[in-house]
């Protein structure tokens, strides 16, 4: 695990983000309500620049015609096909009631995934002497 100092914590206020290249990987660092998180900047769908997407909330409904929006700013929506991921965990938002997925005799290649969408890789972020440190 390497430590990467990416800047000063004070320069990344809540709701803001920073996208940097670390060890050849593009990574987005987010301040969500005062806490820092880092995500790989590559959507698990078709590889789009996830961390350049829109910060959104979670749209839910109890029945057709009712809409609620919660958790504003905690979810990143990919600029391409709008897949959403929880910034804090990298988990894909869609298909929360994950059903069992058939297993297949196929070779796994990087590409559009079958079944349940993959989560996005996350990295630990710590603040040390006012500096943001990404661990990867």
């Amino acid at each position: 695990m390497n430590r990467h100092v990416v800047g000063k914590a004070a320069d990344l206020p809540p709701g803001e983000r920073l996208v940097v290249t670390l060890d050849g990987r593009s990574v987005g660092i987010f301040n969500v309500h005062g806490a820092y998180y880092a995500l790989l900047n590559r959507c698990s769908h078709q590889g789009g620049p996830l961390c350049l997407g829109t910060l959104v909330g979670l749209a839910e409904s109890n029945q057709p015609g009712e809409y609620t929006m919660t958790r504003q700013g905690e979810i990143i929506r990919c600029p391409w096909h709008a897949w959403e991921f929880d910034i804090r965990t990298g988990k894909a938002i869609l298909d929360p009631h994950r059903s069992r997925v058939k297993t297949y005799q196929v070779t796994v290649e990087p590409g559009v995934p079958a079944g349940v969408p993959a989560d996005v890789e996350t990295y630990a972020v710590s603040v040390e002497s006012g500096l943001l440190v990404v661990h990867m």
Partner: protein, 366 residues
């Protein structure tokens, strides 16, 4: 918003060395751009009426009106309106040998005012030539035509048929009649005369078109996006075959864009089955409908279907039964863009270079 530190050298190299022809990309025109290409009369018409554009699809679309939200040019303007940014983000980033530009003004074919449509079509093609094609030999385009007037459309085709950067005719999937109907035949005559394919590209439903489904208007964009295009394309496919367009023009090719393709085997089977007993109704259809479909149609792959079991996608391709059938497209800069290095992964390895490059190279004679 997002502070992005400069990319490393490595990430600005093309993402793949595979040769790619993008069979469907979009350069963005606005009415303002066309004014230098319109007569005094039409400029007066625009000033007097205050018309700002052509009617658009009433469904509010995900992604700021249906675009990749990372495709907004840094220097401003709408996605697809800036050549330098398109060159960087599409042509250079993906090692694109050729990209075929299909105009956002294709829907002028549904304007009630035919003469305005004729003027706009001519202006759009001239603007495309000067501001896009002339700047980059990798850029090709479809000829926009005022399809509501087939004779005027044939004349517009004649104007551009000699230009090797104009590689096909553009029709929107929205129309007042299915495209096999005789009213459109002068268009096919002109296209066939010059060996140009007919491109039918997804068009939205607007204030001046029929509704997007046979049962009226969907409520949501997701419904329109998932099946609206396919409904139109199915209609046109059946019509072109059954009205005998390929009997009249045996060399005519049709390219369907953004209509999906998972439904094609079902349509082939249904038409073939019915044809066996109903050939007397359309006696000019002398071969099985599926043979015409296989021989005369091509489909762009975007937005590619993503079945839960990826093997099913190859099965659909096998059912259609023609390795030359598919043409890869990105649909840049729209939100449902397909990435060239990922979208075709479920398909057989040997098919991918054909779909990414060779099929389009052969069809468009590049």
């Amino acid at each position: 918003m997002a502070r992005v530190l400069p990319e490393s050298e490595e990430s600005t190299r093309p993402k793949t060395t595979q040769l790619i022809i993008d069979a469907d990309a979009h350069h963005t025109v606005s009415l303002k751009d066309l004014r230098p290409y319109l007569s005094d009369y039409w400029n007066h018409f625009i000033d007097n009426t205050g018309v700002a554009g052509i009617p658009s699809n009433p469904y509010p679309k995900t992604g700021h009106g249906g675009i990749r939200t990372d495709s907004i040019p840094p220097s401003g303007g709408r996605p697809g309106s800036n050549y330098e940014f398109m060159r960087q983000q599409l042509l250079d980033e993906w090692n694109i040998s050729y990209a075929i530009l299909n105009s956002n003004f294709q829907m002028l074919a549904l304007l009630p005012h035919t003469d305005f449509a004729i003027a706009l079509a001519s202006a759009t093609n001239r603007w495309t030539k000067e501001h896009w094609l002339a700047r980059d030999p990798r850029l090709l385009a479809s000829i926009v035509i005022p399809a509501q007037d087939a004779e005027a459309s044939a004349q517009e085709i004649e104007r551009w048929a000699h230009d090797r950067q104009f590689v096909q005719i553009l029709l929107p999937s929205s129309s007042d009649k299915p495209y096999g109907h005789r009213r459109y035949h002068p268009i096919y005559a002109a296209a066939a005369n010059h060996g140009l394919p007919i491109g039918i590209h997804l068009g939205g439903a607007t204030a001046s078109t029929p509704p997007p489904s046979p049962n009226g208007w969907f409520s949501f964009y997701i419904e329109f996006h998932a099946i609206g295009g396919a409904l139109s394309m199915m209609t046109h496919m059946a019509s072109l075959v059954c009205e005998g367009v390929f009997s009249k023009w045996p060399d005519l090719q049709v390219v369907m864009m953004e209509g999906g393709f998972g439904w094609i085997p079902s349509v082939m089977w249904r038409l073939d089955k019915d044809w066996k007993g109903m050939k007397h109704e359309v006696p000019w259809v002398t071969r099985r409908p599926s043979e015409y479909i296989r021989a005369h149609f091509h489909f762009t792959t975007q937005p590619i279907e993503e079945p839960e079991d990826p093997a099913h996608l190859q099965q659909i391709v096998d059912m259609i039964g023609n390795d030359k059938f598919f043409l890869f497209a990105t649909d840049y800069p729209h939100w449902d863009f397909d990435a060239p290095d990922r979208a075709l992964m479920p398909l057989r390895k040997d098919l991918r270079p054909k779909i990414l490059y060779e099929n389009a190279k052969e069809l468009y004679r590049l």
